[in-house]
Amino acid sequence: NAGVTQTPKFRILKIGQSMTLQCTQDMNHNYMYWYRQDPGMGLKLIYYSVGAGITDKGEVPNGYNVSRSTTEDFPLRLELAAPSQTSVYFCASSYGPTAMGGYTFGSGTRLTVV
Protein backbone atom coordinates (compact mmCIF):
# COMPACT_ATOMS: atom_id res chain seq x y z
CA ASN A 1 0.00 0.00 0.00
CA ALA A 2 2.83 2.40 -0.90
CA GLY A 3 0.87 4.81 -3.14
CA VAL A 4 3.21 7.28 -4.84
CA THR A 5 6.89 7.03 -3.97
CA GLN A 6 9.37 9.79 -4.76
CA THR A 7 13.13 9.62 -4.48
CA PRO A 8 15.29 11.30 -3.36
CA LYS A 9 13.67 13.35 -0.58
CA PHE A 10 16.40 15.98 -0.62
CA ARG A 11 19.09 16.95 -3.10
CA ILE A 12 21.57 19.74 -3.57
CA LEU A 13 22.77 20.33 -7.12
CA LYS A 14 25.38 22.65 -8.51
CA ILE A 15 24.47 24.94 -11.38
CA GLY A 16 24.78 23.06 -14.66
CA GLN A 17 24.47 19.59 -13.17
CA SER A 18 21.69 17.25 -14.17
CA MET A 19 19.60 14.78 -12.22
CA THR A 20 16.51 12.62 -12.40
CA LEU A 21 13.72 12.73 -9.86
CA GLN A 22 12.12 9.34 -9.56
CA CYS A 23 8.38 8.69 -9.16
CA THR A 24 6.68 5.31 -8.89
CA GLN A 25 3.06 4.44 -8.18
CA ASP A 26 1.58 1.04 -7.43
CA MET A 27 -2.11 1.83 -7.92
CA ASN A 28 -2.24 1.13 -11.66
CA HIS A 29 -3.18 4.75 -12.32
CA ASN A 30 -2.98 5.83 -15.93
CA TYR A 31 -2.55 9.53 -15.18
CA MET A 32 0.59 10.92 -13.60
CA TYR A 33 1.75 14.47 -12.96
CA TRP A 34 4.74 16.51 -11.89
CA TYR A 35 4.24 19.74 -9.98
CA ARG A 36 6.63 22.20 -8.45
CA GLN A 37 5.78 24.16 -5.33
CA ASP A 38 7.30 27.52 -4.58
CA PRO A 39 6.47 29.58 -1.45
CA GLY A 40 3.30 31.60 -1.87
CA MET A 41 2.73 30.33 -5.40
CA GLY A 42 0.82 27.11 -4.90
CA LEU A 43 1.63 24.16 -7.13
CA LYS A 44 2.32 24.55 -10.83
CA LEU A 45 2.10 21.72 -13.33
CA ILE A 46 5.34 20.85 -15.12
CA TYR A 47 4.41 17.78 -17.17
CA TYR A 48 1.73 15.16 -17.14
CA SER A 49 1.11 11.78 -18.71
CA VAL A 50 -2.14 10.05 -19.62
CA GLY A 51 -0.57 6.64 -20.06
CA ALA A 52 2.60 4.79 -20.94
CA GLY A 53 4.31 6.43 -23.91
CA ILE A 54 2.21 9.61 -23.76
CA THR A 55 3.37 12.83 -22.12
CA ASP A 56 2.50 16.48 -22.47
CA LYS A 57 3.64 19.85 -21.20
CA GLY A 58 2.02 21.67 -18.34
CA GLU A 59 2.29 25.30 -17.32
CA VAL A 60 6.04 25.43 -16.56
CA PRO A 61 7.89 22.78 -18.63
CA ASN A 62 11.04 24.71 -19.56
CA GLY A 63 14.22 23.11 -18.25
CA TYR A 64 12.58 19.73 -17.63
CA ASN A 65 11.97 16.51 -19.50
CA VAL A 66 9.91 13.44 -18.76
CA SER A 67 9.37 9.95 -20.05
CA ARG A 68 6.74 7.30 -19.35
CA SER A 69 7.90 3.88 -20.45
CA THR A 70 5.74 1.99 -17.94
CA THR A 71 2.46 2.64 -16.14
CA GLU A 72 4.25 2.69 -12.80
CA ASP A 73 7.13 5.09 -13.43
CA PHE A 74 7.24 8.75 -14.39
CA PRO A 75 10.74 10.21 -13.92
CA LEU A 76 11.45 13.93 -14.21
CA ARG A 77 14.78 14.94 -15.71
CA LEU A 78 16.51 18.23 -15.00
CA GLU A 79 19.17 19.15 -17.52
CA LEU A 80 21.61 21.99 -16.79
CA ALA A 81 20.20 22.85 -13.38
CA ALA A 82 19.60 26.53 -12.65
CA PRO A 83 18.91 28.35 -9.35
CA SER A 84 15.35 29.01 -10.60
CA GLN A 85 14.73 25.29 -10.33
CA THR A 86 15.20 25.37 -6.58
CA SER A 87 11.81 24.14 -5.42
CA VAL A 88 9.85 21.29 -3.90
CA TYR A 89 8.72 18.80 -6.52
CA PHE A 90 5.65 16.65 -6.16
CA CYS A 91 4.62 13.70 -8.22
CA ALA A 92 0.96 12.68 -8.26
CA SER A 93 -1.25 10.12 -9.91
CA SER A 94 -4.95 9.66 -10.59
CA TYR A 95 -7.20 7.00 -12.01
CA GLY A 96 -8.82 9.26 -14.59
CA PRO A 97 -8.53 12.72 -16.12
CA THR A 98 -11.13 14.45 -13.98
CA ALA A 99 -9.56 13.25 -10.76
CA MET A 100 -12.91 12.13 -9.39
CA GLY A 101 -11.05 9.99 -6.93
CA GLY A 102 -8.66 12.80 -6.19
CA TYR A 103 -4.97 12.79 -6.85
CA THR A 104 -2.54 10.77 -4.75
CA PHE A 105 0.59 12.76 -4.02
CA GLY A 106 4.07 11.65 -3.16
CA SER A 107 5.86 13.18 -0.19
CA GLY A 108 7.98 15.45 -2.37
CA THR A 109 11.59 16.09 -3.32
CA ARG A 110 13.22 19.23 -1.99
CA LEU A 111 15.81 20.41 -4.52
CA THR A 112 18.30 23.19 -4.02
CA VAL A 113 20.46 24.43 -6.88
CA VAL A 114 23.56 26.38 -5.80
Binding site: G40, G42, Y48, D56, A92, T98, M100, F105
Partner: protein, 115 residues
Amino acid sequence: AQSVTQPDIHITVSEGASLELRCNYSYGATPYLFWYVQSPGQGLQLLLKYFSGDTLVQGIKGFEAEFKRSQSSFNLRKPSVHWSDAAEYFCAVVPVNQAGTALIFGKGTTLSVSS
Protein backbone atom coordinates in the same frame (compact mmCIF):
# COMPACT_ATOMS: atom_id res chain seq x y z
CA ALA B 1 -8.83 34.81 -17.34
CA GLN B 2 -9.48 31.43 -15.82
CA SER B 3 -8.23 31.22 -12.28
CA VAL B 4 -8.70 29.93 -8.78
CA THR B 5 -8.19 32.46 -6.00
CA GLN B 6 -7.60 32.09 -2.30
CA PRO B 7 -7.87 35.66 -0.97
CA ASP B 8 -6.31 34.97 2.42
CA ILE B 9 -2.60 34.19 2.53
CA HIS B 10 -2.46 33.59 6.28
CA ILE B 11 -5.16 33.11 8.90
CA THR B 12 -4.79 32.67 12.65
CA VAL B 13 -7.61 31.06 14.61
CA SER B 14 -7.88 30.25 18.28
CA GLU B 15 -8.16 26.61 19.19
CA GLY B 16 -11.83 25.69 19.47
CA ALA B 17 -12.98 28.56 17.29
CA SER B 18 -14.65 28.11 13.94
CA LEU B 19 -12.81 28.38 10.65
CA GLU B 20 -13.70 29.46 7.14
CA LEU B 21 -11.19 29.50 4.30
CA ARG B 22 -12.27 31.20 1.11
CA CYS B 23 -11.91 30.00 -2.46
CA ASN B 24 -13.23 31.64 -5.61
CA TYR B 25 -12.94 30.43 -9.17
CA SER B 26 -13.34 32.01 -12.55
CA TYR B 27 -14.33 29.53 -15.23
CA GLY B 28 -17.05 29.49 -17.84
CA ALA B 29 -18.48 26.22 -16.61
CA THR B 30 -18.36 25.14 -12.99
CA PRO B 31 -15.17 23.13 -12.61
CA TYR B 32 -14.67 20.15 -10.37
CA LEU B 33 -13.67 21.53 -6.99
CA PHE B 34 -11.27 20.22 -4.36
CA TRP B 35 -9.64 21.15 -1.08
CA TYR B 36 -6.26 19.72 -0.12
CA VAL B 37 -4.25 20.07 3.07
CA GLN B 38 -0.49 20.03 3.40
CA SER B 39 1.14 19.58 6.79
CA PRO B 40 4.68 20.94 7.15
CA GLY B 41 7.17 18.88 5.17
CA GLN B 42 4.47 16.57 3.86
CA GLY B 43 2.66 15.89 0.63
CA LEU B 44 -0.91 16.91 -0.07
CA GLN B 45 -3.94 15.10 1.28
CA LEU B 46 -7.42 15.36 -0.18
CA LEU B 47 -9.94 16.81 2.28
CA LEU B 48 -13.04 16.84 0.10
CA LYS B 49 -14.32 17.31 -3.43
CA TYR B 50 -17.39 18.53 -5.27
CA PHE B 51 -18.60 17.50 -8.70
CA SER B 52 -22.35 17.96 -8.58
CA GLY B 53 -25.41 17.47 -6.39
CA ASP B 54 -25.68 18.53 -2.77
CA THR B 55 -23.85 21.83 -2.39
CA LEU B 56 -22.66 21.06 1.15
CA VAL B 57 -19.88 18.50 1.04
CA GLN B 58 -18.50 16.63 4.01
CA GLY B 59 -14.86 15.67 4.13
CA ILE B 60 -12.31 14.09 6.39
CA LYS B 61 -11.08 15.47 9.73
CA GLY B 62 -14.39 17.25 10.38
CA PHE B 63 -14.14 19.64 7.43
CA GLU B 64 -16.97 20.64 5.14
CA ALA B 65 -17.26 22.94 2.16
CA GLU B 66 -20.15 24.73 0.53
CA PHE B 67 -20.45 25.32 -3.17
CA LYS B 68 -22.22 28.56 -4.12
CA ARG B 69 -22.71 28.91 -7.85
CA SER B 70 -23.93 32.50 -7.62
CA GLN B 71 -20.72 33.54 -5.89
CA SER B 72 -18.37 31.17 -7.77
CA SER B 73 -17.12 30.07 -4.38
CA PHE B 74 -16.22 26.87 -2.60
CA ASN B 75 -15.38 27.84 0.98
CA LEU B 76 -13.94 25.38 3.47
CA ARG B 77 -15.29 25.34 7.04
CA LYS B 78 -14.71 23.63 10.33
CA PRO B 79 -16.84 24.26 13.44
CA SER B 80 -14.05 23.84 15.99
CA VAL B 81 -10.38 24.01 15.09
CA HIS B 82 -7.78 21.79 16.74
CA TRP B 83 -4.09 22.63 17.06
CA SER B 84 -3.33 19.76 14.67
CA ASP B 85 -5.23 21.61 11.91
CA ALA B 86 -2.36 24.06 11.53
CA ALA B 87 -1.23 23.52 7.94
CA GLU B 88 -1.43 24.96 4.47
CA TYR B 89 -4.71 24.56 2.65
CA PHE B 90 -5.11 24.56 -1.10
CA CYS B 91 -8.22 24.98 -3.15
CA ALA B 92 -7.93 23.29 -6.54
CA VAL B 93 -10.05 22.86 -9.65
CA VAL B 94 -10.19 20.69 -12.72
CA PRO B 95 -11.85 22.55 -15.59
CA VAL B 96 -14.55 20.55 -17.30
CA ASN B 97 -14.80 19.91 -20.99
CA GLN B 98 -11.19 20.84 -21.59
CA ALA B 99 -8.76 18.33 -23.02
CA GLY B 100 -5.40 17.90 -21.40
CA THR B 101 -6.26 19.45 -18.09
CA ALA B 102 -5.02 18.68 -14.63
CA LEU B 103 -5.56 20.02 -11.14
CA ILE B 104 -5.03 23.78 -11.00
CA PHE B 105 -4.17 25.06 -7.56
CA GLY B 106 -4.77 28.29 -5.76
CA LYS B 107 -1.79 29.84 -4.00
CA GLY B 108 -2.79 28.44 -0.64
CA THR B 109 -3.82 29.70 2.78
CA THR B 110 -1.62 29.05 5.78
CA LEU B 111 -3.59 28.33 8.93
CA SER B 112 -2.06 28.98 12.32
CA VAL B 113 -3.84 27.86 15.49
CA SER B 114 -3.29 29.78 18.71
CA SER B 115 -3.90 28.37 22.17
